[in-house]
């Protein structure tokens, strides 16, 4: 099949769908079912087209009338873009299944016409970014992606918090795009070409454009310390959008890093070390803040920061190993990074869909108000639990497979690297990753325990019902994919490693083997669980008796372990990073012995936000206010500007 079919098929169909949504939006009754069906059909079509193209690389340049100004739109379909487009198609397909059931509860809150127009443009631009072969196409698609996703974040823009989130997100994307444009222009002046394959980052002058590009990508990926926008944007957006943003959009910068910097031969140790440090800090920071969150989607957003950190870390290890001429380690780390992209994309979509289903049924995402959903929403519970297991890297799920590979690359580094400093760093990173893993388990145990088990903490959670069939199907689809990628990890790893990722034109691609027998492992674990259940749990009788209630009367839902009481002991260990502010007031006449009212308010203060970002923003707005005085509205003043500019320009042109 010709490669052009994929580009035209996918991109033009998505553009037409956006147009259709735009036309229908004037009629005020855009059918979510029809639009979701369109989305599913396009995603399935592009997936099947991708599968049918085989393993060849294609480059496609659009013919004359379809130009971006004077530049042709250049697409390239190779191993890397195939992997990312396949992930995108899978996520879009499941989103299409999920949408009709979910969007119903937003009726009246958001305008569906606007939502679907932005959504199709968003999907189109993400395909465009991962397929683009030159900087112009890339940046145009990147901009459409940024703006349409900002519009989607602002879907429910009647809330003040949503407006604020959308503005923060928009600001972050503007800075990221600016940095990227700077880096691209610089590289163009160095290499004289817009095509990515002509760019060479091995030279010494390329270090500054590489720095600009990596910073731009880090902002968009939500890497520490640029992650501020992520925990705002994800809870504000509808679950479908946060699933795609977290599942795929923050992987697009990773794709960019691989496509531009890794395949461009970056080896400058400063940049690689920067990526290494940023990756490890954001992995730790993300999971630490995820642990203390109470909003389900905010928690998942912080967990995304952790995982993006892990992916960046693996990329940095790959680059380090390549510079040290250790191709084995480099291949393992590279495969691990991309496999984790794939896995995290699927798992995070699954988790966001489950969180969306909870939000849709219980009308809250606050862990203080949830609880006891296991009996009322068993399907959602099962899919959320499986997603949580996977993201905590419990075998035999896919999260385990890719994290295991990251560990493998680090263990290999401790053995193969020459200098003791490098060995020590690798060893320390292994320790850090284990801490991150442990905190991730704590985080998700908290969510599972507080959110789904126990008694309901609010009236709404008590009356929640199981989500609709479409939602269940989409969750089931993703669960199957997660389990499948975990059980058949050896095939997946082999496939990904053969996509010739490190450099696009290597003749013999490396092959990374995944030595664990995952199907056997899965079978063993499953049978062990079954035996434990049948032997120990099944036979236990249910006994009903009265617990001693300390004389306080009947047990209320407040006596359960809460989100805070679970997280605080762990969080206290990391006091230097996490600043708790606790305000407790006890009221009553004899408040020492018989308190009548106790209120405890716990707040986590983000040091980065309050100490660095807010002062910087204040300075910027001060400068902007000063600049705004230039625009006084007086014609005479404007004329004076024109006149003085003219004089200065003429002086510059003639005297100098």
């Amino acid at each position: 099949m010709n490669a052009a079919v994929i580009f035209w098929g996918t991109i033009v169909f998505l553009a037409l769908a956006a147009l259709a949504a735009f036309v229908l939006s004037h009629k005020k009754n855009v059918s979510n079912k029809v639009m979701s069906f369109l989305l599913c059909a396009i995603a399935a079509g592009s997936l099947s087209a991708l599968c049918s193209t085989g393993f060849h690389s294609y480059t496609y340049v659009t013919p004359a009338p379809f130009l971006l100004g004077v530049f042709p739109v250049t697409f390239r379909l190779d191993g890397l873009s195939r992997l990312f487009s396949a992930l995108l198609s899978l996520i879009l397909f499941s989103t299409g299944l999920f949408s009709p059931g979910y969007l119903n509860h937003l009726k009246g809150k958001i305008s569906f016409g606007q939502y679907w127009v932005s959504f199709f443009l968003f999907a189109l631009s993400m395909y465009g970014v991962v397929l683009s072969a030159d900087a112009i196409t890339f940046i145009v698609m990147w901009e459409i992606m940024s703006l349409s996703s900002a519009a989607l974040v602002a879907s429910d823009h009647s809330h003040h918090l949503v407006q604020k989130s959308a503005l923060i997100y928009l600001g972050a994307t503007r800075i990221a795009s600016g940095l990227l444009c700077g880096g691209f222009l610089w590289m163009h002046s160095l290499c004289g070409s817009w095509t990515f394959s002509d760019w060479n980052f091995a030279s010494a002058q390329a270090i500054f454009p590489a720095l600009l590009i990596i910073l731009g990508f880090c902002i968009k990926a939500g890497v520490w310390p640029f992650h501020i926008w992520l925990p705002y944007a994800h809870p504000a957006a509808p679950a479908t959008v946060s699933a795609i943003m977290s599942g795929f959009m923050i992987k697009v910068p990773i794709y960019g890093l691989v496509r531009i910097l890794v395949q461009g031969g970056l080896s400058a140790p400063e940049i690689v070390n920067l990526a290494f440090i940023l990756g490890s800090v954001s992995a730790f920071w993300g999971v630490l803040f995820a642990l203390v969150q109470n909003d389900l989607k905010r928690l998942l957003a912080y967990s995304s920061i952790e995982n993006i950190g892990l992916i960046l870390l693996a990329l940095a290890i790959a680059l380090k190993a390549r510079a040290a001429n250790l191709p084995v380690v480099a291949d393992i780390a590279m495969t691990a990074a991309l496999f984790h992209c794939l896995n995290h994309g699927l798992v995070k979509s699954l988790l966001f869909f489950s969180a969306g289903a909870v939000d849709c049924q219980a009308h809250t995402r606050d862990l203080h108000k949830l609880g006891g959903l296991a009996r009322r929403m068993p399907w959602t519970m099962a899919s959320f639990f499986i997603g949580s297991f996977s993201i905590c890297s419990i075998p035999p799920l896919n999260g385990f497979a890719s994290k295991w590979l990251i560990y493998q690359s680090l263990f290999q580094s401790t053995m193969l690297f020459g200098s003791y400093i490098e060995k020590g760093i690798a060893l320390a990173t292994i320790c850090l990753l284990s801490a991150v893993g442990a905190l991730a388990i704590a985080t998700f145990v908290k969510v599972m325990g507080v959110g789904f088990l126990g008694m309901s903490r609010s009236h709404a959670a008590e009356h929640a019902q199981e989500a609709s069939t479409g939602i269940k199907i989409s969750q089931g689809f993703l669960v199957v994919l997660c389990a499948g990628l975990g059980v058949f990890a050896s095939h997946a790893v082999k496939f990904i490693s053969q996509l010739s990722l490190m450099s696009p034109d290597s003749v013999a691609p490396a092959t990374v083997e995944f030595p664990l027998p995952m199907p056997v492992l899965a079978l063993m674990l499953f049978s062990t669980c079954l035996v434990i259940y049948l032997v120990f749990l099944q036979s236990s009788k249910v006994r009903i008796f009265k617990t001693w209630d300390c004389g306080f009367g009947a047990l209320s839902t407040k006596t359960q372990a809460s989100s805070e009481s679970f997280a605080q002991p762990l969080a206290r260990i990391f006091r230097p990073f996490l600043r708790y502010e606790t305000n407790s007031t006890i009221k009553g006449r004899d408040r020492r012995h018989f308190p009548e009212e106790i209120t405890v308010e716990v707040k986590i203060v983000s040091i980065l936000e309050s100490r660095i970002y807010l002062p910087v923003l204040a300075v910027i707005s001060l400068i902007a206010k000063g600049l705004a005085k230039l625009q006084a509205g007086s014609i005479h003043l404007y004329l004076l500007y024109v006149c003085s500019t003219l004089v200065i320009l003429l002086l510059l042109g003639t005297v100098l």
Partner: protein
């Protein structure tokens, strides 16, 4: 060596500078007419030296439409609106006149550095006069508060551009110059009507008070 064309465009520039010094609308418009008449003369002289019949037509058109027609129309407008004197803005008129004379000197310095085109009809005096007219027009717009004053300044700027083009090339083709003249006429008519509208909606034509459109 200063040719007669140079002399007439320079006298146009000097007349424009003098125009800055007064706020009487009637006097301003007459002086603008005189300036434009000088330019028409320069055009005719250029036509004579280069033996181009087209430029004669252009000179006639300028004399009739720009030097007589537009001032008369604006005079009629100001009579209708019952305004005879501008209030003045930013700089007092005598100072503004001296400023524009200073800018005339500056434009001589500026144009000396300009690369002279080979085909130029005259030397850099013409270019200096053109740029000086441009500056003078800007000064007029800066120091007038009434909308008619703004139109006048704009017309002076246009004269400057025309002088620059005339002296630095062998004169523009008739068709182009006629198109420019037509645009000018339409522009002036249009802004004259707009002044009526502004007068009707705001009860004044003071542009210094029209600051609420900045956002």
């Amino acid at each position: 060596m200063m040719s007669s064309v140079d002399l007439s465009v320079l006298s146009a520039a000097v007349l424009a500078c003098l125009m800055v010094g007064t706020l009487h609308l009637r006097l301003n418009l007459w002086m603008y007419g005189a300036t434009t008449m000088c330019i028409a003369l320069a055009t005719a002289l250029t036509a004579q030296t280069h033996a181009e019949i087209n430029l004669i037509c252009v000179a006639l058109l300028i004399a009739v439409l720009k030097a007589a027609g537009i001032p008369l129309f604006l005079l009629w407008t100001s009579e209708k609106l019952n305004v005879h004197r501008d209030v003045g803005a930013m700089i007092p008129p005598p100072l503004a006149m001296h400023l524009s004379i200073g800018l005339l000197a500056l434009s001589f310095i500026l144009t000396r550095g300009l690369p002279a085109p080979e085909m130029a009809a005259t030397g850099w005096y013409g270019a200096a006069a053109g740029i000086s007219l441009l500056f003078t027009g800007l000064v007029v717009m800066l120091t007038r508060r009434l909308a008619i004053g703004q139109i006048l300044g704009f017309l002076v700027i246009e004269n400057g551009i025309y002088v620059f083009a005339l002296t630095q090339t062998l004169g523009m083709p008739l068709l182009v110059e006629m198109g420019v003249l037509l645009d000018m006429l339409v522009g002036v008519m249009f802004s004259g009507l707009l002044v009526f509208r502004i007068q009707k909606s705001f009860e004044h034509i003071d542009v210094a008070q029209l600051t609420s459109l900045k956002e």
